[in-house]
């Protein structure tokens, strides 16, 4: 339970942080809230020589609306998202997701950016931002770029971030008219991580058919994913209960499913269908005026 010795750095600006990240390369590890990195270091699953604590970069702690986007700084805590009145009004899915993370202590320290960059296969945020068609900003010495959520999660704890890049913000479109969103989750009873977590955003057209639907799923496979097979079944169709159920049955199609002592692969697939259907039903209920 004691980590290997390491050097601690606390940059005061993004510029300084970028310099340290470049300088230490493979030997450095960025820390935001520390809720994933520190336990891994204590278990000696991670042994970085240099820990670069981004916690002082308060300019990365914000939730704001601009140019038709909602933008959230990477160091914004789960609790700040959970309690944001802006988000409750314009993107209820995010506070709903935040509320499901860990416990109050975790939510007070853990951050959106830290969780996304860590890309734990059972974390909640990846499913949420996939469902929102969000974009993720990466800064490097050379400038910045936006990465679509769909392209961000590459594999087990692996993201599209390049060496030398720091995840600095997430932006997403607010809830359109005649749309609803939600996040539903079955918690692992001890750890609180998602056995399955499903984020859904669904919009109806004037004919009350499904105009757009995005479904993010976490906890099932090596990385969070969009349930594209389900979405295809629903697009442009009237959302009858039967159609939702039939489509949801394809929630884990083609996914290499995790298995552990609590939940077998078969049970996880089953849960994915149940939770996708329930999330669709709830989002639909909210979309109907």
């Amino acid at each position: 339970m004691i980590p290997e010795p390491f050097e601690y750095h606390s940059p005061q600006s993004l510029e300084e942080a970028l310099r340290l990240v470049t300088e230490f390369g493979e030997e450095g590890k960025m820390m935001a809230g520390g809720h994933s990195l520190l336990p891994m270091m204590k278990l000696r699953l991670a042994s970085p020589r240099h820990v670069i604590d981004l916690g002082r970069l308060s300019e990365l702690r914000y939730i704001r609306e601009s140019d038709g986007w909602i933008e959230i700084g990477a160091l914004t805590t789960h609790f700040q998202i959970e309690s944001s009145s802006l988000l409750r009004e314009k993107c209820p899915l995010l506070p709903e997701t935040a509320r499901e993370i860990g416990d109050a202590q975790v939510r007070n320290l853990g951050t959106l950016g830290g969780s996304l960059a860590h890309a734990d296969p059972a974390a909640d945020w990846p499913a949420a931002i996939l469902a929102l068609d969000a974009e993720i900003r990466a800064n490097s010495a050379g400038g910045e770029r936006w990465i679509a959520a769909q392209d961000f999660f590459v594999g087990l704890m692996t993201t599209a971030l390049a060496p030398g890049e720091i995840l600095t913000a997430v932006r997403l479109p607010p809830l359109p008219r005649r749309a609803g969103d939600t996040y539903l989750k079955l918690r692992q009873p001890a750890s609180g991580f998602a056995v399955v977590g499903v984020g859904v955003r669904l919009a109806l057209n004037e004919a009350a058919h499904i105009e757009r639907v995005a479904i993010g799923v976490t906890g099932i496979g090596p990385k969070a994913y969009r349930a594209a097979a389900v979405e295809r079944e629903l697009l442009g169709k009237p959302p009858t209960a039967r159609r939702l159920a039939e489509a949801a049955a394809r929630a884990a199609d083609g996914v290499q499913t995790n298995s552990d002592l609590f939940a077998s692969a078969e049970y996880r697939k089953h849960l994915a269908s149940v939770y996708v259907r329930r999330a669709l039903e709830l989002a639909l209920e909210r979309a109907n005026p």
Partner: protein
């Protein structure tokens, strides 16, 4: 009026007895001032670590600890089990080191070289046909003519398979000790133990067997606070003896050797499993006529216990039962809160519930109809408790025939169970000291396993002396104090209340004798009330407690209270009834507790608050083994797969979900029985009550605990209402 001098006071004159008193050590516990063995750090202390066996069954071929001994920072190393020893479970202790810090000790343990001859093992026993010669007959019994009863064409017969797997104790404080030598012939241990007075003689005998000479009377054991034992901490254990040997080798320096969480889960406690086929018969009106069971279970390498079935309804006229004990390599069994009872309770009450369903009878009515088959002294208690439980659970409102027919995936159901336990106070003793300055101290080598021992002692002494509870100084948890029995079998409150009462009455009579002349009456005309010693019925002729004690002059009153002793202060045999109200999600298989109702008898209650807390604790621990706990063994590698708290799940308060409703049976018919222990009974029924509630909700029996989503969905796939 009391007919025997130590008798409990009559109702209305009991002062704090029977009322709710906050635990006197509550503030120390919640503020962190209470020090548990794990918190003990002694000057110059070394850290002990053990090398354990990775195989479930093996013989030691060679062992070499010398590389560990040469490692910098290592102060002692020894072989625990030498060449030729046959190891019966993975995690068994092979060798140990003591070093200047934990990390060094861990590194040093890795340097020890051991070669094993690996032998075949068995760690999964639930399929009896695969257990081979590991399965040994463990008793067969016949009463009446069960064959004839089952052959009766009028009989309604229900058959089922039920099971409850091995679980571990998972004490929040792991097992262990801090042991040091005080000179060449004296030892001090800080031990996480439920047996303070018993540890010195265990350690002394173990060391003398290893030619280390020490007298029991020169060993002192201290345990002020313990983080759970549940029956798994009666012994000094091999690691305690090892700590003493390591300390000796290191010149007497204190050695802290506490198990890690994974070690604790693997080796420091297993509750025997119990599986079986049960057949029960009743006449068409619901009167039970016959029981037949073929059961098996494992308690590790030794014999498993034999759960008492049929449970409670022991007077069923025709009974056949046969038990088989399976010897396995899962680790050694230890007593677990109410040994054998939760298993017997599930097997019996689930089978009876299935029979009631087959008879299309209300489960509560079925039990009322057959409760005359319980031991006669409990029949009245159960009748009253069943009625009370029905009332508190609103049984008639929420109970329905099997299978909740309301639409949707959420199904609600109710289940009932009942249980019994002994709980007579054990043998033990205390000092009661009343000083001329008015201070009062009660000392005993007992312990507080969580039942509120300190508070019980203070309440009894205070109520005897007519003083407030906080006027009593209680000193326990040190083997230098008068001997008291181990806290096992729900015997502590019965013992502590009785020896405190006897010692306090004797001390008070001595005080009366000292005070009587100055009040101009005989000692037997005095009474202690409201902080005064007064002439009976005449408060105007009195002295304050302090002034009365001043009459002792230079003399300190010192009495010894004992149990057993004169007058009946306690009894044995309690009854309890519990109802579970659950909702099952038939899509996810998740079981949610809505309410648990516990109606419990324990004779005369000393502290209502700690008594109720025992019941709450029992219910919560019951939810743990009903929904979550299982020691998952892998037959291929022979090891426990979930020796951690992520996959060995205990219920957090959020997992309890619903409301816990506790009702203690008190007053006439209960109080006059005296004090009876309560630590174990409330944990017996939850398994059966929750299992029955799930069956009532979903219309099909989930045959094994814990009721995990996987098992619930598997049962639903075979039938049920969904």
């Amino acid at each position: 009026m009391a007919s025997c001098k130590y008798d409990w006071p009559a109702a209305g004159q009991r002062d704090a007895i029977g009322k709710s008193t906050d635990r006197i050590d509550g503030p120390a516990k919640v503020s962190g001032r209470a020090k548990y063995t794990y918190d003990i750090n002694r000057p110059g202390m070394l850290f002990g670590k053990m090398l354990t066996c990775p195989h479930a069954h093996a013989k030691i071929k060679s062992i070499d600890v010398s590389p560990a001994l040469k490692h910098p920072g290592v102060k002692a190393a020894l072989v625990i089990q030498d060449v030729g020893s046959e190891i019966q479970w993975a995690g068994d202790e092979i060798a140990a080191v003591a070093a200047v810090d934990e990390a060094t000790a861990e590194d040093a343990v890795r340097l020890i070289r051991v070669e094993y001859d690996v032998l075949p093992h068995l760690v999964r026993e639930e399929n009896l046909s695969k257990d081979g010669d590991r399965a040994k007959p463990a008793g067969e019994q016949k009463v009446g003519d069960p064959d004839k009863a089952f052959a009766d064409p009028e009989a309604v017969i229900s058959e089922g398979f039920y099971g409850i797997p091995v679980i571990t104790h998972c004490c929040l404080e792991t097992h262990g000790n801090v042991v040091e030598w005080r000179g060449a012939d004296s030892i001090l241990t800080h031990s996480s133990t439920q047996n303070v007075s018993g540890i010195p003689s265990q350690l002394g005998a173990a060391l003398r067997a290893k030619k280390i000479n020490v007298q029991d009377s020169n060993i002192e054991t201290i345990c002020q606070y313990i983080g759970g034992g549940f029956g798994s901490k009666f012994s000094i254990d091999r690691w305690g003896v090892v700590a003493a040997e390591l300390s000796k080798q290191a010149g007497g320096k204190p050695v802290k050797l506490m198990l890690d969480r994974d070690e604790d889960l693997e080796v420091a406690g297993a509750r025997p499993s119990y599986f079986g086929h049960v057949k029960v018969a009743a006449s068409k009106d619901g009167t039970l006529t016959a029981w037949s069971s073929e059961t098996w279970g494992t308690g590790g390498p030794g014999p498993s216990g034999v759960p008492p079935v049929p449970y409670i309804l022991t007077n069923i006229p025709n009974i056949y039962k046969k038990h088989t004990s399976v010897s396995t390599n899962i680790g050694p069994a230890r007593a677990w809160r109410a040994p054998n009872h939760p298993q017997a309770c599930l097997m019996t009450l689930a089978a009876l519930d299935d029979l009631a369903a087959k008879l299309a009878m209300d489960a509560m009515e079925f039990l009322q109809k057959n409760i005359h088959l319980a031991p006669s002294y409990l029949v009245n208690t159960y009748q009253q408790e069943l009625s009370k439980a029905a009332e508190l659970s609103e049984w008639s409102k929420y109970w329905h025939p099997r299978g909740d027919k309301t639409p949707g995936h959420l199904k609600r159901g109710l289940g009932v169970s009942l249980h019994t336990w002994g709980g007579r106070g054990h043998a033990g003793s205390c000092n009661v000291i009343v000083r001329p300055d008015g201070s009062v101290t009660v000392q005993s080598g007992t312990q507080d396993l969580g039942t509120g021992t300190r508070t019980v002692i203070a309440v009894v002494a205070a109520s005897t002396f007519g003083l407030p509870v906080d006027a009593i100084q209680v000193e326990i948890g040190d083997s230098r104090y008068p001997f008291d029995g181990a806290s096992g079998g729900s015997t502590t409150v019965g013992a502590a209340s009785a020896w405190t009462r006897r010692g306090s009455v004797d001390a008070l009579n001595e005080l009366f004798a000292a005070v009587a002349p100055s009040l101009g009456v005989q000692a037997n005309q005095l009474e202690a009330r409201d902080g005064r010693i007064q002439v009976q019925g005449n408060p105007s002729k009195s002295l304050s407690w302090k002034d009365a004690c001043a009459k002792l002059g230079a003399k300190t009153i010192h009495t010894v209270g004992k149990n057993p002793g004169p007058c009946n202060l306690g009894s044995v045999g309690v009854g309890g009834v519990q109802v579970a109200d659950v909702t099952v999600d038939t899509e996810t298989g998740k079981v949610k507790i809505n309410r648990l109702v516990a109606v419990q008898d324990c004779g005369l209650i000393i502290d209502k608050l700690t008594a109720e807390s025992q019941v709450y604790g029992g219910l919560i621990m019951g939810v743990c083994y009903s929904l979550f706990e299982e020691k998952v063994m892998d037959q291929t590698i022979g090891r426990m797969l979930n020796a951690n708290m992520e996959f060995y799940k205990l219920a957090g308060i959020g997992d309890i979900g619903g409301e816990l409703i506790v009702h203690m049976m008190t007053g006439p018919g209960y109080d006059e029985r005296g004090v009876i222990g309560l630590g174990e009974p409330p944990v017996i029924s939850p398994g059966a009550a929750i299992s029955n509630a799930v069956a009532n909700a979903i219309g099909v029996r989930v045959s094994q605990l814990p009721l995990t989503p996987r098992r619930v969905l598997a049962a639903l796939a075979k039938g049920g209402i969904a």
